[in-house]
Subunit: 341 residues, 2 copies
Amino acid sequence: MSLFLDAARGADTQQAPVWIMRQAGRYLPEYRALKERYSFWELCRTPELVLEITLQPIRRFGFDAAILFSDIMTPLPPMGVEIDFSPGPVFRNPLRTEAQIDALRLPTQEEIAPFVVDAVHLIRSEANVPLIGFAGAPLTLATYMVQGGGSKDYATFRQFLRQVPEGAHRLLEALTEVTIRYLRAQVEAGVQAVQLFDSWAGLHDANTYREFSKPYNRRVFEALAESGVPRIYLAVNSLHLYDEITELPCEVVSVDWRVPLSTVRELLPSKTLQGNLDPANLLAPEEHLLREVDRVLLEGLGGPHIFNLGHGIFPQTDPDNVERLVERVRAFDRLRAEGKP
Amino acid sequence: MSLFLDAARGADTQQAPVWIMRQAGRYLPEYRALKERYSFWELCRTPELVLEITLQPIRRFGFDAAILFSDIMTPLPPMGVEIDFSPGPVFRNPLRTEAQIDALRLPTQEEIAPFVVDAVHLIRSEANVPLIGFAGAPLTLATYMVQGGGSKDYATFRQFLRQVPEGAHRLLEALTEVTIRYLRAQVEAGVQAVQLFDSWAGLHDANTYREFSKPYNRRVFEALAESGVPRIYLAVNSLHLYDEITELPCEVVSVDWRVPLSTVRELLPSKTLQGNLDPANLLAPEEHLLREVDRVLLEGLGGPHIFNLGHGIFPQTDPDNVERLVERVRAFDRLRAEGKP
């Protein structure tokens, strides 16, 4: 059995399993060496490279789970959406009209990302830890597609939700269907858990979330229910949405660094909590880092906990600090800390 | 007496006073006309232009308060810090070392911004509504000074807090002293309320906030206590910090759009609440806008309320929508809505 899958399924494990968001990426010199030779899309679309990058942090640190190296934008080009990375995503034709939305294609499960399916097969044949697949949540994908790229406040998208709500719902319907197909393809290829990244949900108040995000997330998760893989939901900056998030049919909620896990435990009593070290603490002196790791471990007691960062690791992080983090998490006996025999 | 000052001092007024963040600025054609002729620093540093821009939205909409047209960076150049606007602030020499911090100047109250003092005199002689002065909170100013400008995650600053905490405290000490002097200069010149903008406080967990923000905000507010002017604190994205913010010696807390005022009322029972319409609703159709204005008015009942946005108005806002907002707020009888005679 697997520590990660046990905790994801609700077991209060003796050790907290540990992996970290963006563990396969720019803070690793072995990743940067590949990045010099290939474009970001080439890295994402070449199964052998996806295999290599996905496993780099597993070899180095022995994390309890691997996460597919990919990008949440992956299913969009097959819908007819052109994206460049420079380095953030830039959409050549941001969606602004209902005609553009109605012109989007709905690719079949097989069409969306055959290179991801191939990569999952390769990884499963080599990896000795569970593999997490992922996708962007419909609202978050729509945010980028309408805004046209990253933004400070996503004002164009927030205006669109209010000016063209029916178009927004049609867009979210299409994205929900494609996301379900994409995640099904990943699960059928062998991923053992899935994480839905709703990175921009926290931009909205609860009413807006209830209308434009929650029902679509629910449908994505429900479509995966019978596969039996644990489902992880991530929404940054979403303390004000936990009354809604607690109702989503997922096993795990990934928590950002702002709120102690012990506080979130009361708001999400039925979920495994994943998180939530501030990634800035990996840029701190060792003593500070270890103190903060201990704090997260203690705050994570009282229920199932997967140790992770509260946000993606910063590219300037020294990999040695990640090694210290992993050692510290491994050395912590959760049952003893809870006073259990 | 003034509706705004009454509410700021804790009166549950019959009408909610209304002003909006960035009410003097880019959404107004009369502001844009001036912006074409002058640089941003010229606009901020010429008392007659500050007067004109500060009063533009008062003439147009009859807001219940004017806010000084200025920028939170104003007191930094007299400390020896060089800043360009392009259009966001860019620091020529970001602070990274303790030597740089120790080399900062502490300008006298008179040196900091004589043009602001002159502008306040001019505005007070012309305006028929209270004038709000403001400053950046020490932590937020330090965020920009170390990072060197705007950023997605302010990783350099968050690393600095952890790597050089004593230097950070010396920087925050200096900024606290300069902020006190700057706000005293404004109050002595005639501003009738002050708002402290801690725009980036919400980036941090409560422990970090308690160490690096709260004590300095407290000192700024305490230094203004005997002046008797109402003190307003703004921290975006700070639901997780309200247990700390409730203890700050200020009369008013400005609330962002994410959380209903009725929820915040329970967390900040002794404060006047200011806010919190999502500025995106000013980009919506009229019916949607008015529904959301009504919601904020209703959620604001049960204690003193100053109607405002939850964040600065977007530059693409149609001024006509602001007029509709003001009319709607004016037409709402808070006492009747609460069932009082």
